[in-house]
């Protein structure tokens, strides 16, 4: 990457594959823990997990620095973790505890971290997409080579605001990467029922935004496409669109009865586990095994810590509706 070197990310101790594997493993263990905690009644609210989709988050965010922006969705844990969010603060938020990312008041779907450019997860389908365009606009204005990434699902593509956003980003040549995480369903509705053109890149091409489809279960493929697109953006050549075909192993939300799909379909995709796909390409089997163990420990500790945190004071429910004069943010 040409310009990224000017805002270096904590140098990976090891090579690309290991780095990608570690990110995916952290996501996998995080999501698995969250799933268990919800099932056992410890977590309140709704949880939408990204197990099976880890390669997209890992691959795209590996091409970013802390200085870049992203927005994500109701299914956003993976993107936040890959962007560097703190797992302990995320878990505290899922538990609804005071030290959580949002003070414990928002739960899973609104994680945000100014320091890492995470402009927010979002419980409104597609709403994060123009917000990322805004990140791109600020980046272009500032001229430091930052980029903004919008993660969204196949279902979001039917929302008009995505098309409006593509047009704006293209007109203004903004450094925005649109990442469509196509997991074949919008809630319980298969993609062919909600999008007439199953080739999702076509919607971007209509706006003359360069678009590409990749195997969303192959972290190296995702990374290599994302890296090219991020470079274009940093070089001032405008937005790109990355269409990642993948699959979610769990239900739309934890507890979803999943009558709308066959067990065999899920099994087939489990066979293409993004972690295994990468593991098979790694020279030394012991490295991923060690990483898995490490992640499991990390998450277990974080869960324990988060669980022990205090709930927010009910009296705080009206705090921060308005900000004090002079409050500001952004870099």
């Amino acid at each position: 990457m040409t310009r990224t070197s000017s805002h270096p990310r904590p140098a990976p101790a090891d090579d690309l594959g290991v780095d990608l594997y570690r990110t995916m493993a952290r996501i996998r263990h995080f999501e698995t823990a969250a799933s268990r905690l919800l099932a056992s009644g410890e977590l309140p609210g709704f949880l939408h997990l990204s197990i099976g989709q880890e390669a997209v988050a890992a691959g795209v965010c590996r091409a970013l620095t802390d200085d870049d922006y992203l927005t994500t969705t109701h299914r956003g844990h993976g993107h936040c973790i890959a962007k560097g969010a703190r797992i302990d603060l995320m878990l505290a938020e899922l538990f609804g505890r005071a030290p959580g990312y949002c003070g414990g008041r928002s739960g899973s779907m609104h994680l945000a971290d100014p320091g890492l450019g995470i402009l927010g997860a979002n419980a409104i389908v597609a709403a994060g997409v123009p917000i990322a365009v805004g990140g791109g606009l600020a980046a272009a204005t500032r001229g430091r080579g930052q980029v903004a990434v919008a993660f969204f699902g196949d279902g979001a593509v039917a929302e008009g605001v995505v098309h409006e956003s593509l047009n704006l980003a293209a007109l203004w040549r903004l450094p925005v990467l649109f990442v469509c995480e196509d997991n074949q369903y919008a809630e319980m509705t298969p993609t062919e029922t909600h999008l007439n053109n199953r080739d999702i890149t076509a919607y971007a091409s209509a706006h003359q935004v360069p678009a590409e489809t990749v195997d969303g279960n192959d972290a190296l493929a995702v990374f290599s496409a994302a890296e090219r697109m991020v470079r274009r953006a940093r070089d001032g050549d405008g937005p790109s669109f990355l269409h990642c075909r993948t699959y979610r192993w769990h239900g739309h939300f934890e507890g979803d009865a999943q009558n709308y799909r066959e067990a065999a379909e899920v099994e087939a995709w489990r066979g293409r586990d993004p972690l295994r796909v990468l593991r098979l390409r790694m020279a030394d089997e012991s490295v991923p095994t060690a990483i898995d163990a490490e992640c499991e420990r990390e998450i277990a500790l974080a869960v324990e810590w988060a669980r022990a945190q205090p709930s927010p004071d009910p009296g705080s429910v009206t705090a921060h509706v308005y900000q004090p004069d002079g409050a500001s943010c952004g870099s």
Binding site: G45, G104, A123, I124, G160, M188, H194, S311, V321
Partner: protein
């Protein structure tokens, strides 16, 4: 009479109207084959087929607009906007189009459209899935807005909405989803849009509520009764047009008004009911009106904060005590 859950009553109302009138059509995300994100349309796709019960893309604006056009062209579409918060994406079609077309055409182009939506308050679903935006809709001339507190009403008002010549927004409560109640078997049993109902008579104070808050008012009224305070509980059922007669009549009986709502206070339906009392009902009002509402903040998600946020039995009890001058 059968005992049905709130959502089953909705389901049964939809089935009956689909059976009765071939112009009725359902549209929404997951309403078809999956039977609704929360089950309200179960079995309808199988019975009525994919043309009359349509799974749609996530396109609230076009969906609502399509329904407006279909209504103008002779159908009776029922659109589901999954959560109330998502009407934000369909406001142009609801407000600038559906609500105005009958007016602009001098009644030549009625818009017999029904929009169903669910308020997620109480689910722990957080600030973008639990808002009470009924005040926006009740502020719009040309729209009708109903919200049922019982399974019987959930069915009857939905059926009335589908048969109504005007666009009606039917708000459903996630918090009541599995509550059971008696529901009449007669498929012609409807409830008139525009009429409130007294759920409990009383002489000392009028409690006005709708949707899930009605239950809390009834509980509060029981607690108050034990203290010798006799509260009347008025369930609005229709938020627009408001049943001003019934509200004023009750106020004249009791002289005291407490409005209870899960929505925030400013410019709300509760504010409107109190506006009515302070203008037309002023002579009857013997104590400050009370608005028991959510605080002016977004809805927080965890159970502890949700409880602190939405008005509870205690809050209602306290407000009525203040109103009748018996603070403790």
């Amino acid at each position: 009479m059968r005992k049905l859950k709130y959502w089953q009553a909705i389901n049964s109302g939809l089935a009956e109207e689909l059976r009765r009138d071939p112009a009725v059509m359902l549209l929404g995300e997951d309403v078809g084959r999956p039977g609704g994100a929360f089950g309200a349309t179960q079995g309808l796709h199988a019975e009525f087929g994919e043309h009359r019960v349509r799974d749609t893309p996530i396109s609230e604006a076009a969906l609502t607009g399509t329904a407006v056009g279909a209504a103008l062209a002779g159908l009776r579409p029922v659109v589901e906007i999954m959560f109330f918060d998502f009407v934000t994406l369909a406001m142009d079609q609801l407000v600038n189009q559906a609500a105005k077309m009958g007016y602009l055409s001098m009644g030549r182009f009625p818009v017999p459209l029904t929009v169903r939506t669910m308020c997620g308050a109480g689910l722990g679903s957080g600030p973008q899935h639990a808002q009470g935006l009924e005040g926006w809709l009740a502020a719009v001339p040309g729209l009708k807005v109903v919200w049922s507190s019982t399974p019987a009403d959930a069915k009857a008002l939905l059926k009335a909405a589908i048969r109504d010549p005007d666009p009606v927004v039917v708000i459903e409560s996630a918090a009541l989803w599995s509550v059971r109640g008696e529901v009449p078997d007669d498929p012609e049993a409807t409830v008139s849009i525009g009429r409130a109902v007294i759920r409990r008579s009383g002489r000392d104070a009028t409690l006005v509520a709708w949707g899930a808050a009605v239950t809390r008012c009834l509980t509060a009224a029981d607690i108050l009764a034990a203290e010798g305070i006799d509260a009347e509980v008025l369930d609005l059922r229709t938020l627009s047009p408001l049943d001003t007669e019934e509200v004023l009549a009750s106020l004249h009986r009791t002289g005291r008004l407490v409005v209870v709502q899960d929505a925030t206070g400013p410019c709300s339906v509760g504010a409107e009911v109190i506006r009515l009392a302070a203008t037309e009902g002023f002579a009857a009002l013997r104590a400050p009106a009370e608005l028991v509402s959510a605080p002016f903040a977004p809805v927080p998600f965890p159970p502890g904060l949700e409880r602190a946020y939405f008005p509870q039995d205690d809050d209602v009890v306290a407000a009525v005590r203040r109103s009748v001058g018996k603070e403790m």
